[in-house]
């Protein structure tokens, strides 16, 4: 049986008249496994871009075939899977006939044979691919449904409104991790898709890196055993929820996902879980109470199939002692830091693209300061691709004179990735 645990990190002390309660709730799953009676049914789709641009350079389509094959090899026996090739339309490469196939040596071999024969040509309408995936998954309602989407270009052959409508229709039906290869796709576009479909987004700089990445994605998907996990947040009468944000493994604002569950509770969908641990930053505004008083400001429960598997409390207590109320909780500081980083890094890159160097410098300087405070060397390295960091601690940066598009995309796509750390020196 999967074990879920929930733990709250916070400084529950508020100053006189204080109303804002911040807490990081860490949910950990261990021994993730299917309910008794067999493996958790899984349904996997690989959506490969076969638009004309995948031929340039020719290594893209070749490596995409190899990546799909690597992913196929990671699908465990008995899991259902299929391959969809997308350009302005979606075509079922394997197995066809609107179905998914149960994985076996024979079906994996046949799927790889068909992937190997893929040819590139035509435009890009990602909504069509997602609609096709939605139809294929519909017959597997009880399974953990997951797709990997690979593209190299912008969604040029349908309107943003058409894509939005498709995303709304697909949301909650399956999860989708998005990968962009090369420099011609739009990070914000794929981020919108992965965010709505509870997946992640990443840049693959070189086609040769695809196969390892796809294998890792598929292995992660195969490790997920508990589906449709929701965070349920109780708040007292008179309280307002400022936000609920995922902190690790990616920053993601979940506030709009709330679905009411009774008078004082709401559910936030988090998708399928394997053996992993995720952090959530919860910010609640409560009516101030008198000094010395205490209250329950919130309670986070983990709900699977209407059963509460774990829960943890978020407290508030009022004190006149500023030594208590001014202490910042390291996990809350880190959560805020990562969310602020994602915002300023994305805004900084956007300003760079627009040629607005003043704004870019200000934003990326702030990003460097945050990355330094977070102690995140990966983020500092990424920022170093687009700016010369003179002094990270004080936020002194200079935009590089010549900036590669791929470097800007790496900062952009990487901005929501988080690594759990305590503060340096603590």
């Amino acid at each position: 049986m999967t074990n879920f645990s929930a733990e709250t990190y916070q400084n529950s002390f508020l100053p006189v008249g204080g109303t804002e309660v911040n807490a990081v709730v860490r949910i950990s799953a261990s021994n993730a496994q299917a309910p008794p009676g067999g493996a958790a049914p899984a349904a996997e789709l690989i959506l490969i871009d076969v638009s004309g641009s995948m031929h340039y350079p020719r290594s893209k389509i070749r490596e995409a075939r190899a990546a799909a094959a690597a992913a196929i090899d990671c699908i465990r026996d008995g899991a259902y899977f299929g391959i969809v090739a997308g350009n302005t339309e979606a075509s079922e490469v394997f197995p066809g006939n609107g179905e998914l196939a149960a994985a076996s040596d024979a079906t994996r071999r046949e799927a790889k044979r068909r992937v190997d024969a893929l040819k590139a040509g035509g435009g890009t309408a990602i909504g069509q691919w997602l609609q096709c995936a939605d139809r294929l998954f519909a017959a597997h309602a009880g399974a953990i449904r997951h797709a990997i989407l690979l593209t190299d270009g912008q969604n040029a052959d349908e309107t943003p409104e058409e894509l939005d409508a498709t995303l709304s229709a697909c949301a909650g039906n399956f999860q989708c991790d998005c990968r962009g290869v090369g420099a011609d796709w739009q990070v914000s576009e794929l981020r919108e898709i992965s965010s709505t479909l509870m997946g992640d987004v990443a840049l693959i700089r070189e086609p040769e890196q695809m196969a390892d990445d796809f294998a890792a994605l598929m292995q992660r998907a195969m490790g997920r055993a508990v589906n449709d996990v929701a965070l349920r947040l109780w708040t007292p009468q008179g309280a307002t929820i400022r936000f609920v944000k995922q902190v690790t493994p990616d920053t993601e604002d979940l506030s709009d996902r709330r679905v009411a569950a009774g008078n004082l509770e709401g559910d936030y969908a988090t998708g399928a879980w394997g053996d992993e641990s995720r952090d959530y930053h919860v910010c609640i505004e409560v009516p101030a109470r008198d000094v010395g008083e205490q209250m329950l400001a919130g309670r986070v429960k983990l709900v699977v199939d209407r059963e509460v598997l774990s829960e943890t409390k978020i407290l508030a207590e009022w004190t006149e002692d500023e030594r208590l109320s001014t202490v910042l909780n390291p996990q809350v500081v880190q959560a805020s830091g990562y969310h602020d980083y994602a915002q300023v890094a994305q805004e900084g890159v956007s300003a760079l693209r627009d040629g607005d160097l003043d704004t870019a410098t200000t934003k990326l300087a702030k990003a460097a300061q945050l990355a330094h405070a977070l102690g995140d060397q990966d983020k500092l390295r990424e920022l170093g691709l687009v700016v010369d960091i003179v002094d990270a601690a004080t936020g002194q940066v200079r935009p590089k004179s010549k900036i590669d598009e791929l470097d800007m995309m790496e900062v952009d796509a990487g901005s929501t990735k988080t690594v759990r750390r305590t503060r340096p020196g603590s």
Binding site: W234, Q237, V286, M295, K313, L315
Partner: protein, 296 residues
């Protein structure tokens, strides 16, 4: 640091002792009105509450039955009962009796909403049934939510003054089952109206009744009427109680005898009974009854 908090407002909860509440009055003798509440033979706690007060010609009784699938059911019944009772006793004799009843029900609902409670064991928010009767010297006004009942019994008629807000009544009204069939069904004790945070909305049933003859108003929980449901059977029981003893006809002894009847039949639920002897204005027997305390 407390680890128990109110499920409504988040305030820390003081430790609460389990068991019977202390100092609760079990019997009330108020002259021409009397009543009592009894735990029964099966339940470990009494989740009924009774309010009964007489002032001059005016008599007020409130009976609440805590919903056992809710948290703090006994507290809900107690606070609703006390709040509505005080409200009805304080309302002017000359005022509109229906308005006074509506106000009392609203006060009782607010009192129940104010109970701190903790979510545990799948229990719902604190809730209770409600019935109140007020005799102002001319009319009886009865307000009800749930399945407690008021009966009127005089020399000529036996009336049930309230309709249950219950699954049984819904089935009977829909023609799906006979009353006998429905009352034998496992769902028989489900109610459709109550007081509490999750109470279904809508105005309460309020009826006014002007007695033509002197008689008895009996208000009771299902702990009694489960054993004697129909108005005629109920009246026969009351009359049998009166006939059985030469001096057991003051309101409190009648109420005691009715409780004993429920206990003799198993006492499966908490039992609460209030009896108000009403002397109708201009009734020939009025003086006789009040001086002798006995019906003829």
């Amino acid at each position: 640091v407390s680890d128990r908090f109110c499920e409504a407002c988040g305030a820390p909860l003081a430790p609460v002792a389990d068991g019977e509440s202390v100092g609760e009055r079990r019997e009330i003798d108020a002259g021409f009105a009397g009543g009592l509440t009894n735990t029964g033979l099966v339940k470990s706690r009494n989740q009924d509450a009774l309010y009964l007060q007489v002032e001059g010609d005016v008599a007020v009784t409130v009976v609440c039955d805590g919903v056992s699938s809710s948290a703090g059911a006994d507290a809900a019944a107690r606070v609703a009962c006390a709040a509505a009772g005080r409200s009805l006793s304080a309302s002017a004799a000359t005022g509109n009796p229906e308005q006074a009843m509506r106000a009392a029900i609203a006060v009782a609902q607010r009192a129940v909403l104010g109970i701190p409670w903790e979510r545990s064991g799948g229990l719902a928010a604190p809730s209770c049934t409600f019935i109140a009767a007020r005799w102002d010297g001319k009319e009886v006004t009865v307000g009800s939510l749930g399945d407690s009942r008021a009966y009127w019994i005089d020399e000529e008629v036996a009336l049930r003054l309230t309709d249950d807000d219950s699954w049984v009544r819904e089935q009977v009204d829909a023609g799906a089952m006979s009353e006998v069939e429905a009352e034998a069904h496992p769902n028989a004790h489900q109610i459709t109206r109550w007081l509490g945070a999750d109470a279904p909305p809508g105005p309460p049933d309020i009826t006014t009744f002007a007695p033509q003859r002197s008689g008895r108003l009996v208000v009771c929980t299902d702990g009694l009427w489960n054993y004697v449901s129909g108005a005629d059977a109920f009246a026969s029981l009351v009359r049998a109680v009166e006939d059985a003893s030469s001096d057991a006809t003051a309101p409190l002894p009648v109420a005691r005898a009715l409780v004993d009847h429920a206990l003799a039949n198993g006492g499966h639920d908490n039992i609460t009974v209030a009896v108000i002897d009403i002397a109708a204005p201009g009734d020939a027997h009025r003086d006789e009854r009040t001086t002798e305390g006995k019906r003829t």
